[in-house]
Symmetry: C2
Subunit: 177 residues, 2 copies
Amino acid sequence: MLASVFCATSLDGFIARADGGLDWLPADGEPHGYEEFIATIDAIVMGRNTFETVLTFGEWAFAKPVVVLTSTPQRFKAPAGADCQFMGGTPLEVIARLSERGFRHLYVDGGITVQRFLAARLIQRLTITRIPVVLGSGIPLFGAVDGDILFEHVATRSYASGLVQSEYRVAGGGVLR
Amino acid sequence: MLASVFCATSLDGFIARADGGLDWLPADGEPHGYEEFIATIDAIVMGRNTFETVLTFGEWAFAKPVVVLTSTPQRFKAPAGADCQFMGGTPLEVIARLSERGFRHLYVDGGITVQRFLAARLIQRLTITRIPVVLGSGIPLFGAVDGDILFEHVATRSYASGLVQSEYRVAGGGVLR
Protein backbone atom coordinates (compact mmCIF):
# COMPACT_ATOMS: atom_id res chain seq x y z
CA MET A 1 0.00 0.00 0.00
CA LEU A 2 1.09 3.51 -0.87
CA ALA A 3 -0.41 6.56 0.80
CA SER A 4 0.00 10.00 -0.75
CA VAL A 5 -0.77 13.57 0.19
CA PHE A 6 -1.58 16.00 -2.62
CA CYS A 7 -2.56 19.45 -1.47
CA ALA A 8 -2.24 23.18 -1.75
CA THR A 9 -0.98 25.32 1.10
CA SER A 10 -0.34 28.99 1.72
CA LEU A 11 3.32 30.05 2.11
CA ASP A 12 2.79 29.73 5.85
CA GLY A 13 1.53 26.16 5.55
CA PHE A 14 -2.23 26.44 5.88
CA ILE A 15 -4.61 24.29 3.83
CA ALA A 16 -7.67 26.36 4.73
CA ARG A 17 -8.67 29.33 6.84
CA ALA A 18 -9.70 28.58 10.42
CA ASP A 19 -13.35 28.31 9.27
CA GLY A 20 -12.42 25.96 6.40
CA GLY A 21 -12.47 28.82 3.86
CA LEU A 22 -10.69 28.26 0.54
CA ASP A 23 -11.35 31.65 -1.04
CA TRP A 24 -7.58 32.31 -1.22
CA LEU A 25 -7.05 29.45 -3.70
CA PRO A 26 -6.66 30.61 -7.31
CA ALA A 27 -9.84 30.11 -9.35
CA ASP A 28 -8.26 30.40 -12.76
CA GLY A 29 -8.65 26.76 -13.78
CA GLU A 30 -4.93 26.36 -14.57
CA PRO A 31 -4.30 22.58 -14.27
CA HIS A 32 -1.80 21.49 -11.61
CA GLY A 33 -1.70 17.73 -12.09
CA TYR A 34 -4.71 16.86 -9.92
CA GLU A 35 -6.43 14.77 -12.61
CA GLU A 36 -3.22 12.87 -13.34
CA PHE A 37 -2.72 12.23 -9.63
CA ILE A 38 -6.31 11.05 -9.09
CA ALA A 39 -5.87 8.59 -11.98
CA THR A 40 -3.15 6.83 -9.95
CA ILE A 41 -5.12 6.32 -6.72
CA ASP A 42 -7.68 3.71 -5.63
CA ALA A 43 -9.46 5.65 -2.88
CA ILE A 44 -9.54 8.99 -1.09
CA VAL A 45 -9.27 8.94 2.70
CA MET A 46 -10.46 12.10 4.42
CA GLY A 47 -11.58 13.20 7.85
CA ARG A 48 -15.09 14.10 8.85
CA ASN A 49 -14.32 17.85 8.83
CA THR A 50 -13.14 17.73 5.22
CA PHE A 51 -16.15 15.59 4.28
CA GLU A 52 -18.51 18.18 5.72
CA THR A 53 -16.72 20.99 3.88
CA VAL A 54 -16.96 18.97 0.67
CA LEU A 55 -20.73 18.54 1.19
CA THR A 56 -21.17 22.32 1.15
CA PHE A 57 -19.76 22.38 -2.41
CA GLY A 58 -23.05 20.84 -3.60
CA GLU A 59 -22.17 18.21 -6.19
CA TRP A 60 -20.11 15.12 -5.38
CA ALA A 61 -16.98 15.61 -7.47
CA PHE A 62 -14.88 12.54 -6.65
CA ALA A 63 -14.00 10.08 -9.40
CA LYS A 64 -12.75 7.51 -6.88
CA PRO A 65 -14.21 5.83 -3.77
CA VAL A 66 -14.13 8.03 -0.69
CA VAL A 67 -13.48 6.74 2.84
CA VAL A 68 -14.44 9.17 5.59
CA LEU A 69 -12.75 8.68 8.95
CA THR A 70 -14.88 9.29 12.01
CA SER A 71 -15.15 7.86 15.49
CA THR A 72 -18.91 7.50 14.92
CA PRO A 73 -19.27 5.91 11.44
CA GLN A 74 -22.80 4.67 12.23
CA ARG A 75 -24.02 8.27 12.44
CA PHE A 76 -23.35 9.01 8.77
CA LYS A 77 -24.66 7.88 5.44
CA ALA A 78 -23.33 8.33 1.94
CA PRO A 79 -24.66 11.24 -0.12
CA ALA A 80 -26.99 10.11 -2.93
CA GLY A 81 -25.06 8.55 -5.80
CA ALA A 82 -21.70 8.81 -4.02
CA ASP A 83 -19.24 5.94 -3.55
CA CYS A 84 -18.58 6.92 0.06
CA GLN A 85 -18.19 4.96 3.26
CA PHE A 86 -17.47 5.80 6.90
CA MET A 87 -14.84 4.14 9.00
CA GLY A 88 -13.33 4.37 12.48
CA GLY A 89 -9.94 3.18 13.68
CA THR A 90 -6.30 4.18 13.71
CA PRO A 91 -4.47 5.02 10.48
CA LEU A 92 -2.77 1.61 10.56
CA GLU A 93 -6.10 -0.20 11.01
CA VAL A 94 -7.67 1.82 8.19
CA ILE A 95 -4.79 0.99 5.87
CA ALA A 96 -4.92 -2.70 6.79
CA ARG A 97 -8.66 -2.82 6.10
CA LEU A 98 -8.40 -1.01 2.78
CA SER A 99 -5.43 -3.13 1.79
CA GLU A 100 -7.53 -6.28 2.33
CA ARG A 101 -10.07 -4.86 -0.09
CA GLY A 102 -7.41 -4.67 -2.76
CA PHE A 103 -6.67 -0.95 -2.62
CA ARG A 104 -3.02 -0.21 -3.43
CA HIS A 105 -2.74 3.58 -3.43
CA LEU A 106 -4.58 5.92 -1.07
CA TYR A 107 -4.96 9.67 -1.33
CA VAL A 108 -4.97 10.99 2.25
CA ASP A 109 -6.60 14.40 2.52
CA GLY A 110 -7.62 16.95 5.15
CA GLY A 111 -5.72 18.59 7.99
CA ILE A 112 -6.18 16.28 10.95
CA THR A 113 -6.20 13.12 8.82
CA VAL A 114 -2.96 14.02 7.07
CA GLN A 115 -1.39 14.84 10.44
CA ARG A 116 -2.48 11.50 11.93
CA PHE A 117 -1.14 9.49 8.98
CA LEU A 118 2.12 11.44 8.94
CA ALA A 119 2.58 11.02 12.68
CA ALA A 120 2.01 7.27 12.19
CA ARG A 121 4.66 7.38 9.42
CA LEU A 122 2.19 6.01 6.91
CA ILE A 123 2.67 8.64 4.17
CA GLN A 124 5.09 7.78 1.34
CA ARG A 125 4.43 10.58 -1.16
CA LEU A 126 3.92 14.27 -0.56
CA THR A 127 2.96 16.76 -3.27
CA ILE A 128 2.60 20.30 -1.97
CA THR A 129 1.49 23.18 -4.15
CA ARG A 130 2.40 26.50 -2.57
CA ILE A 131 0.11 29.44 -3.18
CA PRO A 132 1.99 32.77 -2.92
CA VAL A 133 0.01 34.19 -0.03
CA VAL A 134 0.62 34.47 3.72
CA LEU A 135 -2.64 33.93 5.62
CA GLY A 136 -1.34 34.27 9.17
CA SER A 137 -3.73 31.69 10.59
CA GLY A 138 -5.83 28.71 9.56
CA ILE A 139 -5.80 24.91 9.46
CA PRO A 140 -2.19 23.72 9.15
CA LEU A 141 -1.09 20.87 6.87
CA PHE A 142 1.49 19.66 9.36
CA GLY A 143 1.24 18.90 13.05
CA ALA A 144 3.37 17.32 15.74
CA VAL A 145 5.38 14.23 14.86
CA ASP A 146 7.43 11.92 17.01
CA GLY A 147 10.90 12.56 15.53
CA ASP A 148 12.02 13.97 12.18
CA ILE A 149 10.54 12.54 8.98
CA LEU A 150 13.03 12.73 6.13
CA PHE A 151 11.89 13.10 2.53
CA GLU A 152 13.62 13.03 -0.84
CA HIS A 153 12.84 15.65 -3.42
CA VAL A 154 11.42 14.16 -6.62
CA ALA A 155 10.50 17.17 -8.75
CA THR A 156 9.39 20.79 -8.58
CA ARG A 157 7.26 22.61 -11.11
CA SER A 158 6.30 26.28 -11.15
CA TYR A 159 3.21 27.64 -12.84
CA ALA A 160 2.43 30.90 -14.63
CA SER A 161 0.02 31.88 -11.86
CA GLY A 162 2.84 31.80 -9.28
CA LEU A 163 2.11 28.38 -7.81
CA VAL A 164 5.08 26.13 -7.03
CA GLN A 165 4.49 22.41 -6.76
CA SER A 166 7.07 20.14 -5.11
CA GLU A 167 6.87 16.39 -5.02
CA TYR A 168 8.63 14.36 -2.32
CA ARG A 169 8.90 10.71 -1.33
CA VAL A 170 9.70 9.52 2.14
CA ALA A 171 13.40 8.72 2.53
CA GLY A 172 14.30 5.06 2.56
CA GLY A 173 11.59 3.88 0.17
CA GLY A 174 8.47 3.27 2.18
CA VAL A 175 6.14 0.74 0.57
CA LEU A 176 4.01 -0.48 3.44
CA ARG A 177 3.75 -4.03 4.55
CA MET B 1 14.35 50.94 1.47
CA LEU B 2 13.95 47.29 0.62
CA ALA B 3 13.70 44.60 3.27
CA SER B 4 14.28 40.95 2.39
CA VAL B 5 13.97 37.62 4.11
CA PHE B 6 16.34 34.86 3.03
CA CYS B 7 16.06 31.68 5.03
CA ALA B 8 15.79 27.92 5.14
CA THR B 9 12.79 26.15 6.61
CA SER B 10 11.68 22.59 7.12
CA LEU B 11 8.73 21.39 5.04
CA ASP B 12 6.52 22.27 8.00
CA GLY B 13 7.86 25.83 8.12
CA PHE B 14 10.33 25.82 11.01
CA ILE B 15 13.58 27.79 10.89
CA ALA B 16 15.03 26.06 13.96
CA ARG B 17 14.13 23.49 16.57
CA ALA B 18 12.44 24.81 19.71
CA ASP B 19 15.87 25.13 21.39
CA GLY B 20 17.32 26.97 18.36
CA GLY B 21 18.95 23.78 17.02
CA LEU B 22 20.00 23.76 13.36
CA ASP B 23 21.36 20.20 13.19
CA TRP B 24 18.73 19.30 10.53
CA LEU B 25 20.24 21.74 8.01
CA PRO B 26 22.39 20.06 5.37
CA ALA B 27 26.10 20.43 6.09
CA ASP B 28 27.32 19.57 2.61
CA GLY B 29 28.51 23.03 1.63
CA GLU B 30 26.42 23.09 -1.56
CA PRO B 31 25.98 26.83 -2.36
CA HIS B 32 22.39 28.14 -2.35
CA GLY B 33 22.88 31.77 -3.32
CA TYR B 34 23.60 33.12 0.17
CA GLU B 35 26.83 34.90 -0.83
CA GLU B 36 25.13 36.49 -3.86
CA PHE B 37 22.25 37.63 -1.67
CA ILE B 38 24.53 39.08 1.02
CA ALA B 39 26.35 41.05 -1.67
CA THR B 40 23.10 42.92 -2.39
CA ILE B 41 22.31 44.02 1.18
CA ASP B 42 23.56 46.90 3.34
CA ALA B 43 22.81 45.50 6.80
CA ILE B 44 21.45 42.47 8.61
CA VAL B 45 18.63 43.05 11.11
CA MET B 46 18.10 40.26 13.60
CA GLY B 47 16.46 39.72 16.95
CA ARG B 48 18.25 39.20 20.22
CA ASN B 49 17.50 35.45 20.22
CA THR B 50 19.14 34.98 16.82
CA PHE B 51 22.10 37.13 17.93
CA GLU B 52 22.64 34.92 20.97
CA THR B 53 22.45 31.77 18.83
CA VAL B 54 24.97 33.31 16.44
CA LEU B 55 27.35 34.04 19.34
CA THR B 56 27.46 30.32 20.17
CA PHE B 57 28.91 29.65 16.70
CA GLY B 58 32.20 31.19 17.89
CA GLU B 59 33.51 33.37 15.11
CA TRP B 60 31.66 36.43 13.79
CA ALA B 61 30.82 35.44 10.23
CA PHE B 62 28.93 38.49 8.90
CA ALA B 63 30.33 40.45 5.98
CA LYS B 64 27.84 43.28 6.52
CA PRO B 65 26.84 45.49 9.49
CA VAL B 66 24.53 43.74 11.94
CA VAL B 67 21.69 45.49 13.79
CA VAL B 68 20.34 43.54 16.75
CA LEU B 69 16.82 44.43 17.89
CA THR B 70 16.20 44.39 21.61
CA SER B 71 14.08 46.34 24.05
CA THR B 72 17.20 46.82 26.20
CA PRO B 73 19.96 47.90 23.76
CA GLN B 74 22.03 49.46 26.56
CA ARG B 75 22.56 46.01 28.08
CA PHE B 76 24.55 44.70 25.13
CA LYS B 77 27.87 45.41 23.52
CA ALA B 78 29.31 44.38 20.20
CA PRO B 79 31.53 41.28 20.09
CA ALA B 80 35.20 42.12 19.55
CA GLY B 81 35.89 43.12 15.96
CA ALA B 82 32.23 42.93 14.93
CA ASP B 83 30.30 45.69 13.15
CA CYS B 84 27.27 45.22 15.37
CA GLN B 85 24.90 47.60 17.09
CA PHE B 86 21.82 47.26 19.28
CA MET B 87 18.56 49.06 18.72
CA GLY B 88 15.04 49.24 20.15
CA GLY B 89 11.85 50.38 18.47
CA THR B 90 9.16 49.19 16.12
CA PRO B 91 10.02 47.77 12.69
CA LEU B 92 8.95 51.05 11.09
CA GLU B 93 11.14 53.09 13.46
CA VAL B 94 14.09 50.79 12.83
CA ILE B 95 13.69 51.09 9.08
CA ALA B 96 13.36 54.89 9.27
CA ARG B 97 16.52 55.13 11.37
CA LEU B 98 18.54 52.84 9.10
CA SER B 99 17.23 54.62 6.03
CA GLU B 100 18.55 57.91 7.41
CA ARG B 101 21.96 56.31 7.66
CA GLY B 102 21.87 55.58 3.95
CA PHE B 103 21.04 51.88 4.09
CA ARG B 104 18.93 50.83 1.10
CA HIS B 105 18.49 47.06 1.46
CA LEU B 106 18.05 45.21 4.75
CA TYR B 107 18.26 41.49 5.37
CA VAL B 108 15.72 40.71 8.09
CA ASP B 109 16.51 37.48 9.92
CA GLY B 110 15.28 35.41 12.87
CA GLY B 111 11.84 34.09 13.78
CA ILE B 112 10.25 36.82 15.86
CA THR B 113 11.93 39.63 13.91
CA VAL B 114 10.76 38.29 10.55
CA GLN B 115 7.25 37.88 11.97
CA ARG B 116 7.20 41.47 13.30
CA PHE B 117 8.40 42.94 9.99
CA LEU B 118 5.96 40.82 7.99
CA ALA B 119 3.06 41.76 10.26
CA ALA B 120 4.03 45.42 9.77
CA ARG B 121 4.03 44.76 5.98
CA LEU B 122 7.63 45.89 5.72
CA ILE B 123 9.03 42.87 3.83
CA GLN B 124 9.28 43.16 0.05
CA ARG B 125 11.34 40.09 -0.86
CA LEU B 126 11.07 36.54 0.45
CA THR B 127 13.48 33.75 -0.46
CA ILE B 128 12.63 30.48 1.23
CA THR B 129 14.77 27.37 0.87
CA ARG B 130 12.82 24.27 1.84
CA ILE B 131 14.73 21.40 3.42
CA PRO B 132 12.99 18.05 2.78
CA VAL B 133 12.33 17.18 6.41
CA VAL B 134 9.29 17.41 8.67
CA LEU B 135 10.36 18.42 12.19
CA GLY B 136 6.95 18.51 13.86
CA SER B 137 7.84 21.41 16.15
CA GLY B 138 10.24 24.33 16.44
CA ILE B 139 10.50 28.06 15.79
CA PRO B 140 8.19 28.98 12.90
CA LEU B 141 9.14 31.40 10.12
CA PHE B 142 5.64 32.82 9.92
CA GLY B 143 3.30 34.11 12.60
CA ALA B 144 0.01 35.94 12.79
CA VAL B 145 -0.65 38.74 10.32
CA ASP B 146 -3.49 41.21 10.10
CA GLY B 147 -4.99 40.17 6.75
CA ASP B 148 -3.56 38.22 3.80
CA ILE B 149 -0.20 39.24 2.36
CA LEU B 150 -0.04 38.50 -1.35
CA PHE B 151 3.25 37.70 -3.06
CA GLU B 152 4.34 37.16 -6.65
CA HIS B 153 6.55 34.24 -7.57
CA VAL B 154 9.86 35.35 -9.06
CA ALA B 155 11.81 32.11 -9.49
CA THR B 156 12.29 28.62 -8.07
CA ARG B 157 15.47 26.59 -8.12
CA SER B 158 15.96 23.02 -6.95
CA TYR B 159 19.29 21.60 -5.81
CA ALA B 160 20.88 18.17 -6.07
CA SER B 161 20.65 17.75 -2.29
CA GLY B 162 16.85 18.04 -2.44
CA LEU B 163 16.55 21.67 -1.39
CA VAL B 164 14.01 23.82 -3.22
CA GLN B 165 14.46 27.58 -3.16
CA SER B 166 11.60 29.90 -4.10
CA GLU B 167 11.89 33.64 -4.45
CA TYR B 168 8.88 35.93 -4.05
CA ARG B 169 8.24 39.66 -4.06
CA VAL B 170 5.31 41.29 -2.35
CA ALA B 171 2.44 41.92 -4.76
CA GLY B 172 1.98 45.50 -5.88
CA GLY B 173 5.65 46.47 -5.82
CA GLY B 174 6.55 47.63 -2.35
CA VAL B 175 9.48 50.03 -2.25
CA LEU B 176 9.14 51.74 1.10
CA ARG B 177 8.84 55.44 1.57
